[in-house]
């Protein structure tokens, strides 16, 4: 196919914007169609209460893969990134707390207050994660190999990975095999004895997924996330102006490269003729003829809502149907009249710094597991695990003078409730979060001026995540790598000619890293040339 042809990208999330950039660089004419009035998908900034703005959904970066930042020359655009240190502050109910700094030794010194043994182990842990992460980054940057007819490039990729793996040494190789299928609770117990420390690190293995710390395979999620950031507790950085600034910059860079972006343009249907895409139909009836379509929305929405499913091969359709994408996460954003004071912190400069990164609420493994238990039977966690940020400490412009925004991921909250519905229980979820926070920062409830609750149902209807899953589909061993989204179709192509996937539902799908978008673009360009 000649260059300069029109490629339509559905959805203006970060992956689609990144894919659009690369596709434009590859000599095609990408057109991004976003349903909402702004681009960004799950990474947006909105005014959720008069005068208060927040990264309404995603509140920290993955971070973006370094080569993407370089290629898109993001430093040329005005987008200041805050990288708070400590990255994570984890209070325990009895007033003690752990701090996770960029510096391993400094973190270990704090851990020593809990356990000397753990302090020593922490360094070892950070190092093994670092060395394994290199190999995993390699894996997340490659297109999963074809099993039946591997291409020379597949062999080359596998060879490179094999070489990386061998560099881990005998023990490292065995660790990789042994750790991946483990329950993250067991994994952290092999290193640490302090419950709070175990819980903070284990939380990384359950974030965003339908997993408790005792679920087997949760360590794989932790390792996958470590591919993006090898720090034991992950990334805490975010841009000035919220996550929306990042996607805005991505859009600008894509536009400069030659991409066209239309908002308020909802795709209703992908037109298919003789097994190949011919165009897209927008809400309102407008039709756009295309040579290729790249879907940045989740696989289920792509194949069951945008396409007439009867056009799909039944085996493929069945696999997409079985793709597990039932969300178990909610988001609560609070508009606060002042800064909450945590019992574990004295109010001083140090406290301000301590609260500028992520705040982990979930003091022990059993706490996290019990939070998960509730959701298994369709209940909201009575004492949920929270991943909190207060972005206004570093970026005061998000709220009126002296006021603050508190943004909290809440686990667990199942899409389908056993009792009542989300409309009737929205308020209850907000209160549960405020009460949970109250155990650590008693003045929170008196500071609340406004509450926004984003339920799993909202994630589906407002953000377009089928099932309300923030990763477009469960990060489970059977839904990763050559199996993401489904076996035989993990190479961003689909059984429909000219239709590609580039969202989180494809490999690697590990958060705000842009890897899916960049990987997909590589395959799309190769295919269209």
């Amino acid at each position: 196919m000649p260059l300069g042809q029109r490629v339509v990208l559905i959805g203006g999330g970060h992956n689609a914007l990144i894919a659009a950039f690369y596709v434009a660089k590859g000599g095609f004419k990408p057109l991004v169609l976003e349903r909402r009035e702004m681009v960004g998908g799950g990474a947006i900034t909105e005014e959720f209460y008069p005068g208060f703005r927040a990264s309404t959904l995603a509140h920290t970066l993955g971070p973006l893969r370094a080569d993407i930042v370089r290629d898109m020359q993001l430093y040329r655009f005005s987008c200041e990134i805050f990288s708070p240190d400590p990255r994570v502050f984890a209070p325990a109910p009895e007033g003690k707390a752990l701090f996770f700094y960029n510096d391993t030794a400094k973190t270990a010194a704090g851990i020593a207050d809990f356990s000397q043994k753990d302090a020593a182990k922490y360094t070892e842990f950070a190092e093994s994660l670092e060395s394994i992460s290199e190999v995993l980054t390699q894996l997340t940057s490659m297109t999963p190999p074809a099993i039946d007819k591997p291409s020379p490039e597949d062999f080359w990729n596998l060879f490179k990975t094999g070489r990386g793996v061998r560099r881990l040494g005998k023990e490292g190789i065995f660790n990789l095999f042994r750790w991946s299928p483990m329950a993250v609770a067991d994994f952290v117990a092999e290193f640490f004895e302090t419950e709070l420390l175990r819980a903070v690190i284990a939380a990384r293995g359950i974030f965003g997924n339908v997993l408790g710390p005792w679920s087997a395979g949760s360590t794989a999620v932790l390792l996958l996330r470590a591919a993006a950031d090898a720090h034991p507790v992950g990334s805490a950085s975010f841009p000035r102006g919220g996550l929306g600034s990042l996607t805005r910059v991505l859009a600008e860079s894509a536009k400069e490269a030659g991409a066209e972006i239309r908002t308020d343009a909802e795709v209703e249907q992908i037109r298919i003729k003789d097994g190949a895409v011919t165009g897209v139909v927008l809400k309102g009836g407008e039709e756009i003829a295309v040579e290729a379509v790249v879907s940045g929305v989740d696989p289920k929405r792509t194949f069951f809502h945008l396409i007439d499913p009867s056009l799909l091969d039944p085996v493929f359709a069945n696999r997409i149907k079985n793709f597990r994408a039932k969300g178990n996460v909610a988001k609560v954003n609070l508009a606060l009249g002042g800064l909450p004071s945590f019992s574990a912190l004295e109010s001083n400069e140090h406290a301000l710094r301590a609260l500028s990164g992520r705040i982990h609420i979930g003091p022990d493994i059993d706490y996290l597991e019990r939070a998960f238990d509730d959701s298994k039977y369709g209940g909201i966690s009575k004492a949920p695990y929270l991943d909190v940020t207060i972005p206004t400490i570093l970026d005061p412009a998000l709220a009126p003078d002296g006021k603050h925004v508190l943004s909290a991921y809440v686990q667990f909250a199942p899409l389908k409730l056993m009792e009542g519905n989300w409309d009737s229980r929205r308020r209850e979820l907000g209160l549960t979060v405020i009460n949970t926070l109250g155990a650590y920062a008693p003045n929170v409830s008196s500071l609340v001026e406004g509450v926004q609750v984003i339920t799993p149902e909202d994630l589906e209807t407002c953000y377009g995540f089928t099932g309300g899953h923030i990763f477009h589909g469960e990060l489970a061993l059977d839904q990763l790598f050559t199996m993401r989204p489904v076996l035989d179709w993990a190479r961003y192509k689909t059984p429909i000619r000219g239709l590609f996937l580039c969202g989180s539902g494809t490999h690697p799908g590990n958060g705000l890293t842009g890897a899916s978008g960049a990987n997909a673009a590589r395959e799309i360009i190769r295919e269209l040339r």
Partner: protein
């Protein structure tokens, strides 16, 4: 020092006996040392109440490798399998047929792996590479559908896996039970579909998914293997508990019994679990520290108990009153998926399930020899019963645990309370004490993915060898894991004999 043998096998469980039989067959002078008065380990038949014979722990036969039955000529030694069990009523849904059909190629794929010494993924040794290529090739030969299902079976939760096939809750709950038996995982936990497959591997006369009883209880299997071993020249001693494994210059050279008696041998083959072998029978100084740490990380976590009942009559089930074919198979108390999951939730926090999953069999219906005329034995496998209780000890809670099981059964068969004439309750602690199963794990260690194949029991030591020269492992803690399979004992014998050929023990044997 007392007598000298070529090989001492520690533990007279089925794997130890298989191991001994093969070694004796190769002409080695072998002695098996069993702590208890009976052979079989967890596969024993005992007369707990006069006239009632119980397959005290392990209660059904199926996994015993056909090649072992053949090579050791077990039927001649009295092994008689009664192929009777229908695991549950055949639901005439099309999906079930299709599902069963799909499981056949899955079992076929896994079957050679069960008879394979695991290759080492960290070496470029041609022998290991060849084995991996063989596996890769076999995987590539599968159809796309088969690959898809295999990957799912190796990684998914049994609940999610079954959800794709079936709708009926009670059917799914019952089938998913195979995915948790003997493990400390719930049906919704990833990786339990593998355990489901492991249990599906049950093969009798070439047909997968068939289970049976052994005439005379499971102990009869152990006795048949023991008889074969004896005929091949192995010596078997019961009531001979080992206290220590003796080493000299980093080599195992014998054992000391609790009685103080010393027995020397060129090779020690341990059929007991890694905790006993390495932490109890050896000195920490005998082992590299990283190996010892890996042994400490090896997960046992017993999760089940057993209640054996001597009955005056047959239980009468509310849903299907009277006697009938339904009592001859396995009777599963697993009414709903949430029931199963809640049973697990209790256990996670250190409590036995308030309403447990119970798998019952009444072997006296198919083999009347195990009970007096008109009377019956009811054997109940109960899950979950965590080894570590949050409150109290198992000695304090044994009675309550047993009663809870009977209460649960009574909800389905109300006459049960009136027909019990004898009751034996085995908690995980009892399994540890009586059968030497650390933490009461029936498989000598969890069948979780990180403890399988080349990772079982310890990464880098999955080849039946140990860091101590001349000391080998042959029990369920080695590949391919638990169940009355015997493959572990057979594979270990092959490794030992191969090392023998290489001359590894020559210097010792000459002593």
């Amino acid at each position: 020092m007392g007598q000298h043998y070529d090989v001492i096998v520690i533990g007279g469980g089925h794997n130890g006996l298989v191991n001994a039989a093969y070694l004796a067959k190769a002409g080695k002078r072998v002695v098996v040392l069993e702590r208890r008065h009976v052979l079989g380990g967890a596969a024993v038949t005992e007369e707990i109440f006069p006239g009632f014979l119980f397959s005290e722990y392990s209660y059904v036969v199926s996994l015993l490798r056909p090649e072992i039955i053949r090579e050791l000529d077990l039927p001649r030694h009295g092994l008689e399998t009664i192929r009777e069990i229908r695991r549950h009523s055949r639901v005439d849904a099309e999906a079930y047929e299709e599902f069963s059909k799909m499981m056949v190629p899955m079992c076929r794929f896994v079957k050679p792996i069960l008879s394979m010494i695991p290759p080492d993924p960290t070496t470029l040794n041609p022998r290991d590479l060849k084995q991996f290529l063989f596996l890769l090739q076999r995987f590539r030969e599968l159809s796309s559908d088969e690959r898809y299902t295999l990957v799912q079976l190796m990684t998914m939760s049994s609940a999610d896996f079954l959800d794709q096939w079936f709708e009926t809750d009670v059917l799914k709950a019952t089938m998913s039970a195979s995915g948790i038996i003997g493990t400390f995982l719930g049906i919704r936990s990833p990786a339990t579909a593998y355990v489901l497959l492991h249990h599906y591997m049950g093969e009798i006369d070439g047909a997968f998914r068939s289970w049976g009883f052994s005439r005379g209880g499971t102990g009869a299997i152990s006795n048949a293997i023991a008889s074969a071993a004896r005929e091949l020249g192995a010596e078997i001693r019961t009531k001979a508990p080992v206290a220590k494994i003796l080493t000299k210059n980093g080599r195992a050279c014998g054992v000391v019994l609790q009685s103080g008696e010393e027995i020397s041998a060129g090779v020690i083959s341990s059929g007991v679990d890694p905790h006993l072998t390495f932490e109890k029978f050896l000195d920490p100084s005998d082992l590299p520290s990283d190996f010892l740490e890996s042994v400490r990380h090896y997960k046992f976590r017993g999760s089940s108990g057993k209640v054996n009942l001597a009955l005056d009559a047959l239980p009468n089930f509310k849903c299907l009153p009277g006697a009938g074919a339904h009592l001859r198979g396995a009777i599963s108390i697993s009414p709903a998926m949430n029931y199963m999951e809640r049973a697990y939730d209790d256990a996670k926090y250190g409590q036995y399930s308030r309403r447990p999953y119970i798998d019952m069999v009444i072997p006296s219906l198919t083999d009347p020899s195990v009970a007096p005329p008109g009377k019956h034995v009811l054997s109940c496998f109960v899950q979950y019963a965590p080894y570590k209780l949050a409150a109290g000890t198992w000695d304090e809670q044994r009675e309550a645990f047993g009663n809870n099981v009977i209460e649960t059964i009574a909800e389905y068969a109300p006459n049960i309370k009136g027909i019990i004439i004898g009751k034996q309750v085995l908690t995980p602690l009892d399994l540890e004490r009586e059968f030497g199963l650390t933490q009461g794990n029936i498989f000598q260690g969890e069948l979780s993915l990180e403890q399988l194949f080349f990772l079982r029991p310890v990464a880098g030591w999955a080849y039946y060898r140990t860091p101590v020269d001349n000391l080998y492992m042959c029990g369920s803690a080695t590949h391919p894991g638990g169940g009355i399979m015997g493959a572990n004992g057979r594979l270990a014998s092959q490794v030992i004999l191969k090392d023998w050929k290489r001359g590894a023990f020559r210097s010792k044997a000459a002593n």
